[in-house]
Homo-oligomer: 381 residues x 2
Amino acid sequence: MLTLQLNEFSLEDFLANYWQQKPVLIRQGFPGWQDLISPDELAGLACEPQIESRLICQRAGQWQAQNGPFEQYAHLGERDWTLVVQAVDHWSPEVAALVQAFAFIPQWRFDDVMISYAVPGGGVGPHIDLYDVFICQGSGRRRWRVGERGPHRQFVAHACLLHTDPFEPVIDAELTAGDILYIPPGFPHDGVTLEHSMSFSVGFRSKSARDMVSGLADYLIDHELGTGLIHDPGRPRQPHPGQINASDFGLIRQQMQAVLSDAALMADFTGTMLSVTKCELDLQALEWPLNSAELLSRLQQAALVRTGGLRCLYLQENIAQGICYIDGEKYVFSAGCVPALMNLCDQNRIDAVLLGEALQDMDFVEALLGWVNQGYWYFDE
Amino acid sequence: MLTLQLNEFSLEDFLANYWQQKPVLIRQGFPGWQDLISPDELAGLACEPQIESRLICQRAGQWQAQNGPFEQYAHLGERDWTLVVQAVDHWSPEVAALVQAFAFIPQWRFDDVMISYAVPGGGVGPHIDLYDVFICQGSGRRRWRVGERGPHRQFVAHACLLHTDPFEPVIDAELTAGDILYIPPGFPHDGVTLEHSMSFSVGFRSKSARDMVSGLADYLIDHELGTGLIHDPGRPRQPHPGQINASDFGLIRQQMQAVLSDAALMADFTGTMLSVTKCELDLQALEWPLNSAELLSRLQQAALVRTGGLRCLYLQENIAQGICYIDGEKYVFSAGCVPALMNLCDQNRIDAVLLGEALQDMDFVEALLGWVNQGYWYFDE
Ligand SMILES: O=C(O)CCC(=O)C(=O)O
Ligand SMILES: O=C(O)CCC(=O)C(=O)O
Ligand SMILES: [Co+2]
Ligand SMILES: [Co+2]
């Protein structure tokens, strides 16, 4: 497993002074870096219709951008283009493992690993993101410039390319393999490739209030909750039929407030909503499904690895009740399974030791069997 | 205008002891009742594709139901069928005026006026509603039975017909023209027509928490609100990547709570959401649009009537700021317009006196001109 080396500063220092606050260059965060995927493999992924990708190039100073899937790259030439592929952690176990190096930020904040391959002069152009990103430089060299947070103008440079005006850099550095550039939301940045190069962007995002309220609405509908109507017996005679008076407005707000004040409902909603995957999983269902005896016996020899992009969460709020949330679903097991559930959610790899006494719980084994047979976890052999 | 006569009890008595609590028969609530629409006109409305209607009949003890629009009724015979048309207040000014008689219940609680025409033996069958209804008996006689609130089984008697099991009546009465039966949500009821008869159901509904949360999500999206992301600088190192810890769960809940705690946002959301019409309005835009001088001069001679089904609301919370909500839109006028806005929302009919000094406010006159030219209000001449 890759281990992040912070060298000059500690993780505590990074979290206290940089995370969400200011950009920082971490030289040789991954010493001895080896690319986790080859340019050819990346180009191959960008040919798949279910994978989100973009080709960005500059032709005579004009930005051009095109969404994948792509059929060929031969026409692109030697300069000034880059291929960007989203959520590669869903398709490559090696790339999924990179996320572990950033596990000091909780999983519910994680978005995806985006990878770019660029030829000299290539880059996506100066832009601002809504997310926190660790841009891990792979092979090749790239010059990165990062500006101050501020009221930078944004404009559509091409159909799927939102750019920002030129900015004064506060960081201006050449990155080589193993260097990491951390950029919080709102800081303009621009990376121009000096030689054929790969970048691995580990991105973290939080949801907006709007996303959460939309998600809550869907959650209430899917789970047939919040169906009660306002009950208003004993209402006084209304002198103003067109008015929503203070007491009625209070009833209306109270009805919605009751949903948000329901800690158990909000825990279930939060767990299910935040464990929904960003996009399709690369599930490899077993051709010959196991039965539980076979599962238990194989677990004596091998560990299970979580499929890249699968989200498994638990809440401090209700884990003691044996509750966890996997891929947008709530699961409830007996209290004896709690340590196993925590390991299942905390670790990318689990084995018989980490699952412990949960392997004696038939409900848990049954659920695990379903997950393994469907490919949510696979044996690492 | 029709005036409700409560005879034996006062309106205060009705609101304190019956509204949302128990069913009650109001004998001769509308003495000298005359049908507000003829069976032929009702049958005509049910031929329109934009109007929701149903035909319900019993054939050999089997319930049958069909949604409109209908082309003919000749095949139906002399017995055991009823035609039900929704939201007739949207299409008939006389029916819209009936709602005024129930203006002691605020407009935001109002749903629609549903009208049925039935031949002997006809009825929709025993059922339970989610709304409060005043069933006003028109011409003809109908026997109504109402049971106790309770855990009555509900079942699908036919594709669009949800029935309930037979029940013990607490009210069993024959209604004649002018009688009114009030039924709160949850009380099973069954009306069987004794002779050709018309029923006018003035229905009141409140929204569920689910409807409100869905509406809020749409409101945030339409108005580009709630876009801020969770900001979590200074987070401690997370020992459990799969956990949403208590402090993060707090941040997530707080982000949504901030929306519900924003009184101004919630007032605007409530006003816009609850002023959306139930279904299409019968807007008759003026063929020769007026200019403001013409509008003001015509207002000296004639009153303006609100198109049936149009919802106009204001909140005690923010009316002093000149804010009102019409047909799902927020309007803001100067403080001098407040009395006019209240009349506009409270009254079905407004004239130059009720609009008062707002007619000197050019913004208000401009808005009123737009509403009149589009047909939201029309001159009563
Ligand atoms: O890899 C690139 O060219 C762009 C990376 C980037 O801007 C990001 O990850 O935010
Ligand atoms: O008019 C009818 O036949 C049915 C009326 C009714 O059940 C209601 O308005 O709730
Ligand atoms: Co970026
Ligand atoms: Co009913």
